[in-house]
């Protein structure tokens, strides 16, 4: 973090390439250049196989690129050890998945509090923050219900609450409405917009172009490259 411009950037990808080895190596990403500024709401859209999910995994430091540089909140991922990357994910990155990935044996509150489990926050404070996050996503009345007893829309709200509970630098959402009906999907998109309005940087991956149209910035991907970058803020 040397210049004010760099400080505003929360995520930078420079010439990121990913090759999955094999008999016929798959070039999932072919030189991605991307900057995300703090507070942006962005959609990454593209057909199946365009490299969206690979991009999300690399942005979220769940996977390392074959070459190129990823900088998250000022940390250059390639210079970090696996343990440091874990700490980075725990504090700076929130994830929302298509299939929610809640722990079914736990209540909504416990699931949200788990978002802070690996950050070193004491358990009482975790519960307080989880309470607030659930209030924020409109699930005050379902806090003590088991995750398995919630509807699809409620499950995704719990997942969103878990992603934002630690106020991360970026929230990465992978097809967050993929398993939901249209009305519920609209609710979730509205929730993401509201949270972005509160200053949370959101990157949403989707194959749904109509939904992508709702976002101020849209990255169109095809064959591992960025085809178009629309509505770039800076």
């Amino acid at each position: 973090m040397t210049s004010p411009t760099a400080a505003a950037k929360v995520l930078e990808l420079s010439d990121v390439r990913k090759v999955y080895p094999g008999a016929t190596p798959v070039h999932a990403l072919r030189g991605i250049e991307l900057d995300v500024v703090r507070g942006e709401l962005m959609a990454v859209v593209g057909p199946s196989g365009s490299g969206k999910s690979t991009l999300l995994h690399i942005m979220g430091t769940l996977d390392r690129p074959t070459s190129g540089e990823v900088t998250v909140d000022g940390h250059v991922a390639s210079r970090l050890t696996d343990r440091q990357l874990s700490a980075l994910r725990a504090g700076q990155i929130g994830f929302v998945f298509q299939s929610f990935h809640l722990l079914n044996g736990e209540t909504a509150l416990e699931n949200v509090a788990d978002g802070l489990l690996y950050t070193g926050v004491a358990s009482t404070l975790r519960n307080n923050l989880a309470n607030e996050a659930l209030d924020r996503v409109g699930l005050s009345h379902r806090k003590h219900h088991l995750a398995s007893k919630l509807s699809g829309g409620e499950m995704q709200r719990v997942a969103v609450a878990r992603a934002i509970v630690g106020r991360p630098a970026i929230v990465l959402a992978d097809e967050p409405t993929g398993n939901l009906d249209t009305a519920t999907s609209d609710d979730i998109v509205r929730l993401l917009e509201e949270l972005n309005g509160e200053g949370i940087t959101m990157i949403v991956i989707t194959h749904n172009r109509d939904m992508a149209e709702l976002f101020p910035r849209r990255i169109m991907m095809r064959d591992g490259t960025i085809e178009r970058d629309l509505g770039r803020s800076a």
């Binding site: 874990s86 700490a87 504090g91 722990l103 079914n104 788990d114 489990l117 690996y118 950050t119 070193g120």
Partner: protein
Amino acid sequence: MNTLRPARLAFSDLARTSAAGLRSRKLRAALSALGIMIGIAAVVGVLGLSQSSKSDLLEQLDRLGTNLLTVQAGTGIGAGSGELPDSATAMIGRINPVEASAAVRDVDANVYKSDLIPSTQSGGISVKAADTDLLETLGGDLADGRFLDEAASNYPTAVLGAVAAERLGIASLDAAPLVWLGDQWFAVVGILEPLALASDIDRSALVGQQAAADYLGSEEAPSKIFVRTDPAFVDDVLAVLGATASPENPEEVEVARPTDALEAREAADDTLTLLFLGLGGVALLVGGVGIANVMVISVLERRAEIGLRRALGATRRQIGTQFLTEPYC
């Protein structure tokens, strides 16, 4: 820029996440625990059983004494006349570590409950002439009455072995029973308890040596001599016993230690125990591999949870610790 360092997971959080894994798979956890318990119980059971049967045997051996030896005339092919010299008992008595010795002689007679029993129904009871210190040598006990002593040995009196008494239908001496022995009446003066190391005596009616000569006209050579030695010198006595009993034809003498049979039985038991233990071990191994298999499946089907926890910021070590802690919850 703050340095990145993963937070330590509090013990209570670790316990909670591990216990949650088990709570959501109660049946599997219970079956795994049951499998391990049954396996260990089986092995402990097999070991315990064999241990207690071994200690039973040791106790029995201690009680009977492993220092009882028998000398008898060989009965195999080329074993000669099948007789021990008359002097054998006295000669054996002179071996220093021999504490007691007593001879029995076969008497050619049968014993019946009364003179009205047909002579063919002898009941498989043999008549033997015994030395007065036979009971002491054998370390046996009396169920009733007394053993042959110097006085009784001269008169028509008999002591019955446990099996013989039962076959003759004589349970006690209250009615002063008589038996028809060698065509004359003999008074029963004693009944023996069963003898673990001399079952042939159990099936005999014993008379005194003098009485055998006087009333039954039997002056046979000793057929079997029981020898009780100093426990420290059993092997030494065993080595010289044949030559001492029959200096002329030592090879015609069979010397034995009755407790060897018990030890052979124990050796067989040991082999069986080893077999069971082997089977138990194989079962435990199979069970262990089964449980390992279940664990591997459990990890595979929980890849989503592992991925989620990694996304939430868990280190590899924290995930590993969670899985390894689960069995203790």
